[in-house]
Subunit: 236 residues, 6 copies
Amino acid sequence: MNVLAIACHPDDLEIGCGGTLAKYASLGHNVTMVHVANGNKGHKVIGPEELRLIRAGEAQRSGALIGAKVISMDVDDLLVKSDQDTLITKLVDVIRTVQPDVIITHPPEDYMKDHMEVSKAVFDASFAATVPHYVTEVAVPDGLKPSPIYYMDTLAGVGFLPTEYVDITDTIETKIAMNAAHESQIKWLYEHDGIDFLDFVRTVSKFRGLQCGAAYAEGFVQCKAWPRLTTTRLLP
Amino acid sequence: MNVLAIACHPDDLEIGCGGTLAKYASLGHNVTMVHVANGNKGHKVIGPEELRLIRAGEAQRSGALIGAKVISMDVDDLLVKSDQDTLITKLVDVIRTVQPDVIITHPPEDYMKDHMEVSKAVFDASFAATVPHYVTEVAVPDGLKPSPIYYMDTLAGVGFLPTEYVDITDTIETKIAMNAAHESQIKWLYEHDGIDFLDFVRTVSKFRGLQCGAAYAEGFVQCKAWPRLTTTRLLP
Amino acid sequence: MNVLAIACHPDDLEIGCGGTLAKYASLGHNVTMVHVANGNKGHKVIGPEELRLIRAGEAQRSGALIGAKVISMDVDDLLVKSDQDTLITKLVDVIRTVQPDVIITHPPEDYMKDHMEVSKAVFDASFAATVPHYVTEVAVPDGLKPSPIYYMDTLAGVGFLPTEYVDITDTIETKIAMNAAHESQIKWLYEHDGIDFLDFVRTVSKFRGLQCGAAYAEGFVQCKAWPRLTTTRLLP
Amino acid sequence: MNVLAIACHPDDLEIGCGGTLAKYASLGHNVTMVHVANGNKGHKVIGPEELRLIRAGEAQRSGALIGAKVISMDVDDLLVKSDQDTLITKLVDVIRTVQPDVIITHPPEDYMKDHMEVSKAVFDASFAATVPHYVTEVAVPDGLKPSPIYYMDTLAGVGFLPTEYVDITDTIETKIAMNAAHESQIKWLYEHDGIDFLDFVRTVSKFRGLQCGAAYAEGFVQCKAWPRLTTTRLLP
Amino acid sequence: MNVLAIACHPDDLEIGCGGTLAKYASLGHNVTMVHVANGNKGHKVIGPEELRLIRAGEAQRSGALIGAKVISMDVDDLLVKSDQDTLITKLVDVIRTVQPDVIITHPPEDYMKDHMEVSKAVFDASFAATVPHYVTEVAVPDGLKPSPIYYMDTLAGVGFLPTEYVDITDTIETKIAMNAAHESQIKWLYEHDGIDFLDFVRTVSKFRGLQCGAAYAEGFVQCKAWPRLTTTRLLP
Amino acid sequence: MNVLAIACHPDDLEIGCGGTLAKYASLGHNVTMVHVANGNKGHKVIGPEELRLIRAGEAQRSGALIGAKVISMDVDDLLVKSDQDTLITKLVDVIRTVQPDVIITHPPEDYMKDHMEVSKAVFDASFAATVPHYVTEVAVPDGLKPSPIYYMDTLAGVGFLPTEYVDITDTIETKIAMNAAHESQIKWLYEHDGIDFLDFVRTVSKFRGLQCGAAYAEGFVQCKAWPRLTTTRLLP
């Protein structure tokens, strides 16, 4: 399968579904990781221009851990907007290129605007991508249909009730390593705020595991919209 | 009564509430059918410019079957957006002209962006239309108030739980004929994809009928917002 | 129409739908008011045996104000239970006798157990009443079907979002008079606790009116269960 | 897998998940079909004693079509109650005997009491069945755990939003045949009320199919309760 | 505490949380009241330019009654939009200046577009305000974090189920006086439409009081989003 | 304050709200812990009679850690039922004796029957307890009113979205010690199933802490029913 995971910041996929992506990859599926924002405002000391470059590298190193292709939409932090001219069309091109069997993204409600704009844009783009006369730089591949979409967990699981779980016991350490690759974030939080974000990520995965009988797990909710519903499970 | 039905594509009203509109008309009410998008990208072979004209004609023929006035906002497919300058103001003019006693439109959640943008724009415009100092090409008629709004079914009824039903047993064949008038859609789906869309429409109407004890029915949910709530039923 | 309203205590119908019942009656419909509990523990001074008789009289006087028939199931307060042998079968007999076109009762969730047991028992009994081989003292009338059920407001409207409203502007004073007929309750609350319960009732009716554009109103939610759904409104 | 399907009346499983059970069976799984009520009051002319025997035979013939074992709890219609002494303990024995990998039953909310009592009893019994010191006629098999539970559709799909679908295109005719085996029900409805119940069943399956892209489908919602959540799909 | 209340029109805060703001003020907290729209289209006779000035004065007089600072974003009515360039950045500056411990605003769903745009913009801005590299005219104060947000009631309480209440018995008359300060609205509604809006406001407050055992109350729902959740109550 | 916590099994309070109870106690409030079931079937080797005694002692030792009074209703496991004659009346006596300012119990939906029966019985009893003519062994204290009720978390937080949180950072070790006092449960799970249940409890508390910005927390939802709603927070 072609798995297309699209999130907002360079480390959001690692937090929300890193274990699942690692599992997909270990099973031989093609995994593409897209971050819409470049994460340029995610630090209190390092400036936007420098941070943008640092984080692009971190994202590549994280993806490399599971052999995933990593793409950035390079939108500045806090300026993500689900509009036609910029974001949707760019996502259409990615979708037409990747031809995903399944898409993973943020849920429609999350803790900040940019995440929610991405979720909306992915929903919109994955439909538009299948319309031949919606002309962009990439032509519609034959038979491309609106992909099933799975929404990953919110940050800290607030307001999120998973309806499907993925056992990530075998990939939890890879997930942690992928998160650790985002050194600018992890190190900063630890040194200046005393926050151990890797422990944060591990705790949420452990909690989701307790809910479904696995040592570690990630939770998802399927997007319920025609014609995306399926009669098989696409999660690994 | 003046009944104003506003949907996205030229055939959406026929799918979602064609039987109800036919019933309104047969009872002597004035029915106006508005499609916001011109449907120009709804075909894999016919090009946008040609299709736009074809579909405009199909919409007129469909509306003529029940004596409804048909209006197109003529927005290109996939570019529908609930913004002030374009869509909302144009809808305000329609509403001020029609002076509806009741409005029917898409529900806030549906299977693709354009539908949802229309739903939002209708909600917004139907309030703005009643404000005298919101100056557009059409003046506010005396006593115009925000209309009660009924949301029609989603495509294939996904995620939709009707709270009110309309018995369309007497108008189901008219509904089917109205859908058949959109020949570019029906024929294409049948010849190339083997999909019998008229059967699709009939099945959903039959299913909604099973739910409420009618041979055929359509389901609705009222928009719950002040001051649109009523103490009488406005559905036929 | 035959309107059957079934609530728990002798004054619950007056509080929740008194205006609607008065309106039904004024339109010429037959109204039957059933209270399941005898209200015998609803006072801090008057003992159960004496109170039971007092409240039976109050209920009759209240019903007489709108020409409604009043029936008591005579279950002691706090001992209402939706079981087969006692409550359900007794309600089946009432339903078979009244042959209601519509039933009004408490919603499934309310502020205390007895109310919720009544709601459940009404739902159960109104189905059982239509089964010929469910033999009770009253035979099934020809063609009796499970009635549409409307749930009235909770006490003080807590947790209740009406989906339909009845304008009771013309019957609000009758509603107040019906509530006032329950003198043992009204007087006690006023003299000992300083609570003006008639003002309580009026305030809730006024609030529901503000929501739907009437001077006074009552709110309802229809029970969504097959085969009780209808294609017409049964509320007055 | 051992598949245990438990519904109320002798034909409820056929209506709600007949296609899914046929599919399980065709894939080589062991299917056990339990009906709690004997269906003795489900006719207007045939008396309870006679009908009970007729329906027991019909259930056996229906199950035989897919090689399923059919068990009756033999509770009289309208007297189903989720209590310890009768229903729960009897279901515990069935569960301990079948040792199901997955259970299918009615959803907690459905159109009549007996269905809902069965749903509750199944939930309760499937936990109790795993407790060694809950002593019944059958001992707890080693390692028996509370089974994952899938709730099947309500009658006519009222109030039900499936979260998972099963493609029953290959078994729809078997499903219809299983329903047809309940001749006392089908024939009566057709001859006396003009209702073609087989068409009812087919329409709902077709509608659920439209929702998920299959010719025919059945919809389900998983019971979300610890420790029943899984990381794999158990539906066929 | 620094309390920041942000609503759409000049009188919306008075309607939704005037009693709570008065209570905060009486307890010694700093209260800032922001209205985003200038209310220039809220009259049928007085023109926009004149009305804008009148309402600015009314808002100041209302705020003065409780010693609150009053700020207008001065957006024209019906043109409120939660976008980056205009509204969000302006709100960021207010938030960075006020440094709120708690924010009160409209709920995400309300009776008209402008209210909902404000709710969204406040949510978005209160996060952006805390990001140092989101550069606006005001620098981020040290330690500023995304504030807890409480959503106040909808107009007439439609569709709103409070989860927390504030007893405003001691400030109800101040609340009424604050509303009365918006003379252009109150007088107009009374003289021309016969609507006593002060009575409207009092009735809703009385109703919310009945729900929680106070003479008068206001209802709220907390915004459930990380990292805004708290372990203490911030409402007075 | 008098704090009354009522759960099902001897260790359920420790799991769901042990940290909160410890915090209440440390602040000087009187805490009473009630377990309805005696836990006699909660082991695979130790027999019911022996286990019942062991667990009674464990519960006492756990409560002693925070100076709480511990009461057992002594109902056998899997036989808990919210009925009048047995459970409700016994709980009424406890409530009349303790005169709680706040009650904590299981939420209405949880992972097994006994928990849900307790939740329902507590709701019912806490109303009945305030009715003078509901005569039991204990008379109604003057002025006793239906207590506000807080529902604690489900097991593993499945299906539970807290609306209020308690910071238990200062009492997490006490909570763990209270759980550890239930040695028959903890030891068995560890030695035979390799499950570290204390780690389970700590993980859930840590996860709830991540949601609300505390090192450890417990989540609650208030019971929304008249006249239990308050205008102050009763959680510590």
